[in-house]
């Protein structure tokens, strides 16, 4: 059952520091949701709560309900490893594995979970790299180091790596903040192509980017979700004064 992402009463802490306050949000399946807000407002922490990556940080804690595509992510007995397999993640800085080739990076998720058959791996690598719009650029250099690619290519390699395990959801944490405008445009194009098959949540500092790629946008401020709604409406006719101040550049 595809029902997107449903969050109720989500609170998160780093040690004593309360960073997310009572977040409630419901994101549509097979759509792009953008999260904007000033640095340190909790948007990255929020998406890291969706795939249980928040708890990887020592001292980090979460309370509340998160349902992703019908699965209660924080139910007792749920294995975070299984959750993360269903929910892909792309990080701010491209982080291909430096000891692996382009090919090995693309299928790292499969190889490290025990898939050995070369035919399966090759097929998955080509599919994922094509999905990430990288295949034509790297098909002749699959054995080169993943870190030998350009920054933009590395980020698309990371997207391919996330897609190769066929997740239902893709979380992107400022995926373009380390890239130049051309590489950024390629990633945005890619997001628009992927949204028919995946539920995508993208954190971004770039409001134009949020406007270009997303159907819905949420505005975070000081650990609270101030406003959430249809992207066009949030940018043209925000309901909250604080949202208006932020998108018109009065602070942040």
């Amino acid at each position: 059952m595809a029902d997107g992402i449903l969050v109720r009463g989500l609170n998160a802490w780093f040690g004593e520091h309360h960073v997310l306050h009572d977040i409630g949000i419901s994101m549509a399946p097979k759509a792009v949701t953008a999260l904007i807000g000033p640095s340190g407002c909790g948007k990255s922490t929020f998406i890291r709560c969706l795939n249980r990556m928040h708890e990887v940080v020592p001292g980090a804690r979460v309370a509340g309900t998160v349902r992703v595509e019908g699965v209660d992510v924080y139910a007792p007995g749920v294995d975070p490893v299984q959750i993360r397999r269903k929910i892909g993640m792309v990080f701010q800085k491209p982080n291909p594995f430096p000891t692996m080739s382009v090919f090995e990076n693309a299928v790292a998720g499969l190889r490290l979970s025990g898939v050995r058959e070369r035919a399966v791996l090759h097929e998955a690598a080509e599919r994922a790299l094509r999905q990430a719009a990288l295949w034509d650029e790297v098909k002749d250099s699959l054995t080169k180091s993943g870190t030998s690619l350009s920054g933009g290519q590395q980020q698309r390699l990371c997207i391919a790596r996330a897609l190769a395990v066929e997740p239902e959801v893709l979380l992107m944490d400022e995926p373009c903040s380390a890239l130049d405008p051309i590489a950024t445009a390629k990633i945005e194009e890619l997001i628009l192509e992927l949204r028919s098959t995946l539920t995508i949540v993208i954190v971004t500092h770039n409001m134009q980017q949020a406007a270009r790629v997303s159907e819905a946008t949420g505005f975070f401020l000081l650990g609270e979700l101030v406003e959430f709604g249809v992207t066009r409406q949030l940018f043209t006719n925000p309901r909250d004064k604080r949202t208006e101040d932020y998108i018109t550049g009065r602070f942040g």
């Binding site: 795939n51 993360r84 993640m89 990080f91 982080n95 998720g109 490290l112 790596r161």
Partner: protein, 280 residues
């Protein structure tokens, strides 16, 4: 400061730094040169293939000591490297506050324990119960010396692996132990190998802990539970003997010992440079 003065100060400081770097490697070059001068004449085929001759006879070699040293180093590495690397991984990965702190502190203390004391320790726990000097006791003493070096360098190098790599792997739905084994350790491999080499080079020349553990032997290797020859021991014995021919052989032994360390380091470096490497 005018540009002219700044340029002159810059040249001066760069020059001083270069001189300092030169002074640091000077002792090694001097040692190498001196050993070549003194020992090269005694290094011949016999030296590598023959046993020591009885007292009074000229000639013979240190083949048994070369083989013995290789056996001791291999045994010590087989014992010390896995333990040290795993221990280092624990220190780097553990979220506990107290045990790693204590282990780190004790490792640093162990690193500072004089090697002769480690020899006494090995004598007490290995030689006395077995009632004989043995290759095993010698290797044990060397392994104990290697442990803290390997553990601390492995820890540092595992720590140097960027957290972003670990997170990338965890976010792919890979269990933590596999992330460590297949992503973190390979990324730290080149550095861990360097640390292992440093440890091996260090113990290859250790003499004191072998004096009453491996003991030395004038014959070929006779089993791991028997006394075994080792280059540093043989060098020591020959250097304090009153015969000129033995002195020449001691110099040759020292030259071979350094050559051995050099070759092992080079081989390990080459073996790990083929593949894409992560942190160095």
């Amino acid at each position: 400061m005018t540009p002219g003065v700044r340029r002159r100060v810059n040249v001066l400081m760069s020059g001083l730094a270069a001189v300092a770097a030169g002074l640091v490697i000077l002792p090694l070059l001097l040692i190498f040169g001196f050993l070549l001068w003194q020992g090269a004449s005694a290094v011949n085929v016999d030296f590598f293939t023959h046993l020591p001759k009885p007292v009074g006879e000229v000639g013979g070699g240190m083949a048994n000591a070369i083989v013995g040293s290789l056996i001791l180093i291999a045994l010590a590495a087989a014992l010390g490297l896995p333990l040290g690397i795993l221990g280092g991984v624990y220190l780097a990965e553990s979220r506990d506050r107290h045990i790693p702190w204590l282990a780190r502190f004790l490792a640093d203390v162990l690193n500072g324990v004089p090697s002769i004391v480690i020899g006494i320790f090995a004598y007490t726990v290995m030689v006395l119960p077995m009632r004989r000097f043995s290759a095993l006791a010698g290797a044990f003493a060397l392994a104990v010396i290697m442990l803290p070096i390997v553990m601390r360098t492995s820890e540092e190098l595992v720590r140097l692996v960027p957290a972003s790599l670990r997170e990338a792997a965890l976010a792919l739905g890979i269990p933590e132990w596999k992330v460590l084994l297949r992503v973190v350790l390979p990324a730290a491999r080149a550095g861990i190998v360097t640390g292992a080499m440093v440890a091996i080079a260090r113990v290859a020349g250790e003499t004191a802990p072998l004096l009453f553990t491996a003991f030395g032997n004038r014959f070929w290797h006779q089993g791991l539970d028997q006394p075994i020859a080792a280059l540093p021991l043989q060098i020591f014995a020959y250097a304090i003997a009153p015969y000129d021919d033995w002195h020449r052989q001691a110099w040759a032994g020292a030259l071979v010992l350094i050559g051995l360390v050099f070759v092992v380091s080079l081989a390990a470096r080459m073996a790990t440079s083929g593949r894409f490497t992560g942190v160095r």
